[in-house]
Symmetry: C2
C-alpha cells in the first residue's frame, strides 16, 4: 500500500511537533527520514522515528537551541551539536560548508554530540544538485559492534563513508559502511530469524558466520570489518580513518563518558569550480560512470549499476506513484500516533 | 644481506642523477623509494626504480621543471605535474598544503599528469610527525585492472586510499587499495607461479579465483573490488570516490588520451589544531588505537595491530640494523649500475 511522500513527511512532522521539537527541526528530520525510504534505505528512514520520539520524550534528544561553535577557521568549523536532532544539524552544516566552499574551495564541518543522523545517502543529492562533491562520515561513541581485524572485542560502530559525486548524468550517491554489514540489518534479520547473505559476522570464538544471532548471545560476537576474514585489515584501516575524522577532529568520543545514542559527524563540501572546473569534473566522472555501466555483466541479466542509480530511480518513481514502506514501519508508529493524538496517513487508493 | 639505508638512498640518487634528473628531484625519489623498503612495502620501494629509470631515459618521466598552477584558492590548489617524478611532486604539494592548512584548517592539492608516486604509506609519517592528519589517494588513467562490481570489464586502477593519523603513541599509517588486491602483488605472484591468499580476482567468465594468471590470459580477468563477490559494491563505491577526487577534481583522466604510466593525485592536509585541538585529537585516536591493541586476539598468538605499527617498527629496526631487500630488487638494478657507471652498494658485513 503506497503513501504520498508529502503525507508521510506531514505525519512525521506532526509526531515530532507533538513531542515538542522546534518546527524547523521537525521539518528537517521528517524530510531526511522520508528521503531515506524514498531511496529504499528501509532500515534508515521512518523505521528510526519511534526511536527518535522516545529520545525526544526522555530528553536524550534536545528539542530547542543551536549548536555551540567550538572553533571557526575559514575552511574548518567545529560544533558541539548539544544533542540536537542529527538531520537538522547536518542540513545546517551543509549550508554553512557550501557557502564557505564557494570562497575557500572546500569547507569541513565537524560536529560532536549530534544525535543520530539517519541515512547518510539522503543528504547527498542536495549537494550534487548544486554541482558540489560532498563527503559525509560519522561514528557513534556510545556503542561498538565492529571488531578490529584479528580481534574479538568490538571497538567501532559500522562507521559509514558516504559521498555525493556530480556527473553529467545521474549523480553517484555512495554510502558504505567500513564494516561488513550494519547494526540495522543484523538487528532486523535477527528479529526475523533470518541469515545474512554471507559470513559478515564473527562469533565470540573468532569463527566467521552468516548468523546474526551470534551478536546477541554469549560470548558475544562482532561484525567483521569490510573485507572479512581475508581482507578485513582494509575495512579496519578505513574504520580508524573515520574515527579520526569524527571523534578525533571533534575532540570528543570514545575516550569520554557515554551520553547515549548519538553521532560524531564529519562533513566536507568540495567545490569542483575551485579546482579544474565543474565541466572538467563532470566530464571525467561522467566518462567513468558510463564506462562502468557499459561493462559486460558478470552474471547475465544483472547489468552493472552505479551507486545511487537505483536509489535515485526508486525515489523518482515513488515520488510519482507513492512510497511503499517496509511492513514493520507504520505499525511501530501507530501507538505514537494514538498517544500523541496525530492522525495516521491514508494510503493512496 | 642487509644494506645501510643511506647507502641505498645514495645508490638510487646516483642512478637517477646519471639519467639526468635534477638533483633535488633525485633526492626526493630516492628517499621515498627507500622509505617504502624500510617499511616492508617491497613491491613499492626500490623495486620501482628500474621502471623509473626507463621512463627517464625515454623522456616519459620529465627531468627538469616545476608543476604548472592551474587553480589556486586558499584551501584548494590544482597543479599540472607535467609528468615530473611523483615523489618529488607529492613532497612539494605536502609542503604547500601544510603551510596553507595552518591558516585555513585544511588544504587540498590535486595534481594531474604526475608520474607514478610510489608507496603512499612512505609519505604519511612526515605529516603525523608534525601532528597533521593527511589523506592521500591516486589513480592512474593510463591503465585499468579492476572491474566495477558485477562487471567483467576493467575500469579502475586499484585506487588506494592512504591516511596518516597522529595518536599519542605510534601513528596510524593506513594505505589500502579499494580493490581486493594490487597490480604489484598479482604481477609478482604470477611471475613466481604462485596463488593469491584468497579469491581476489575474477576470470574472464565472471568466476572468482585465487590464480593471478587469469589476469594474463584471454578472455582477460580482472581484480575484484574490495569486498569481493558478496560486498564488492563497497569497494566499487570507494573506487568511484577516488576517481572523483583525483581525475574529477584534476579535470584530467580517463576521458583523455593516454599519456603512459602516471598518476592523478589528491592530497589533503587537515590540521587538528584548527578543530578541537591536537591534544583533544590524539586523546581520542590514542584511546581508540589502545582499545584495538587491547582486544583479545581471534587467533591465539596473533595480537591485534594498528595499521602502520609493523611498518614503523620494521623501519626503525632496519634503520638501525640495515635493510633486507626483496631478492629480485638489486639484480634488476645491476644492469643500470653497469650501464650508467654507478657503483653498487656494499652489504653490511
Amino acid at each position: 500500500m503506497p503513501y504520498r511522500p508529502t503525507d508521510l513527511v506531514d505525519y512525521a512532522r506532526a509526531l515530532l511537533d507533538a513531542c515538542g521539537l522546534d518546527a524547523d527541526k521537525s521539518r528537517s528530520v521528517a524530510d531526511i527520514l522520508v528521503q531515506g525510504d524514498l531511496m529504499g534505505h528501509t532500515t534508515h528512514g521512518l523505521a528510526l522515528l519511534p526511536g527518535y520520539l522516545t529520545e525526544l520524550e526522555s530528553g536524550a534528544m534536545r528539542k530547542h537551541g543551536e549548536p555551540a561553535v567550538l572553533a571557526d577557521h575559514p575552511a574548518a568549523v567545529t560544533w558541539d551539536g548539544q544533542r540536537l536532532p542529527g538531520p537538522w544539524l547536518v542540513l545546517q552544516a551543509m549550508e554553512l560548508a557550501t557557502q564557505r566552499a564557494r570562497a575557500q574551495g572546500t569547507c569541513t564541518v565537524v560536529i560532536r554530540r549530534s544525535h543520530h543522523i539517519a541515512c547518510l545517502a539522503a543528504y547527498l543529492k542536495r549537494a550534487t544538485d548544486q554541482g558540489l562533491l560532498m563527503l559525509l562520515t560519522c561514528s557513534d561513541p556510545n556503542t561498538a559492534s565492529v571488531a578490529p581485524f584479528g580481534g574479538l572485542d568490538a571497538v567501532f560502530t559500522p562507521n559509514p563513508i558516504a559521498a555525493g559525486i556530480p556527473t553529467d548524468g545521474v549523480p553517484v550517491l555512495m554510502d558504505v559502511s567500513t564494516s561488513a554489514t550494519t547494526n540495522g540489518l543484523t538487528n532486523r534479520l535477527h528479529k526475523e530469524g533470518r541469515r545474512l547473505p554471507a559470513a559478515w559476522v564473527m562469533d565470540g570464538h573468532g569463527v566467521a558466520s552468516d548468523d546474526p544471532a551470534v551478536l546477541f548471545k554469549e560470548p558475544k560476537g562482532t561484525i567483521l570489518p569490510l573485507g572479512g576474514m581475508d581482507s578485513g585489515h582494509k575495512g579496519y584501516g578505513l574504520s580508524l580513518l573515520v574515527e579520526a575524522l569524527t571523534g578525533g577532529l571533534a575532540g570528543h568520543g570514545r575516550a569520554d563518558a557515554k551520553e547515549g545514542w548519538g553521532a560524531t559527524v564529519f562533513l566536507q563540501i568540495i567545490d569542483p569550480r575551485a579546482f579544474a572546473g565543474l565541466d572538467a569534473f563532470t566530464r571525467q566522472t561522467g566518462h567513468v560512470t558510463d564506462a562502468c555501466r557499459a561493462s559486460r555483466a558478470a552474471e547475465p541479466g544483472k547489468p552493472v549499476r552505479t551507486p545511487g542509480e537505483k536509489g535515485v530511480a526508486l525515489a523518482d518513481q515513488q515520488t510519482r506513484q507513492g512510497v511503499t514502506l517496509y511492513p514493520s514501519i507504520l505499525p511501530a508508529l501507530a501507538p505514537w500516533a494514538a498517544k500523541l493524538g496525530v492522525s495516521e496517513p491514508t494510503a493512496i487508493s
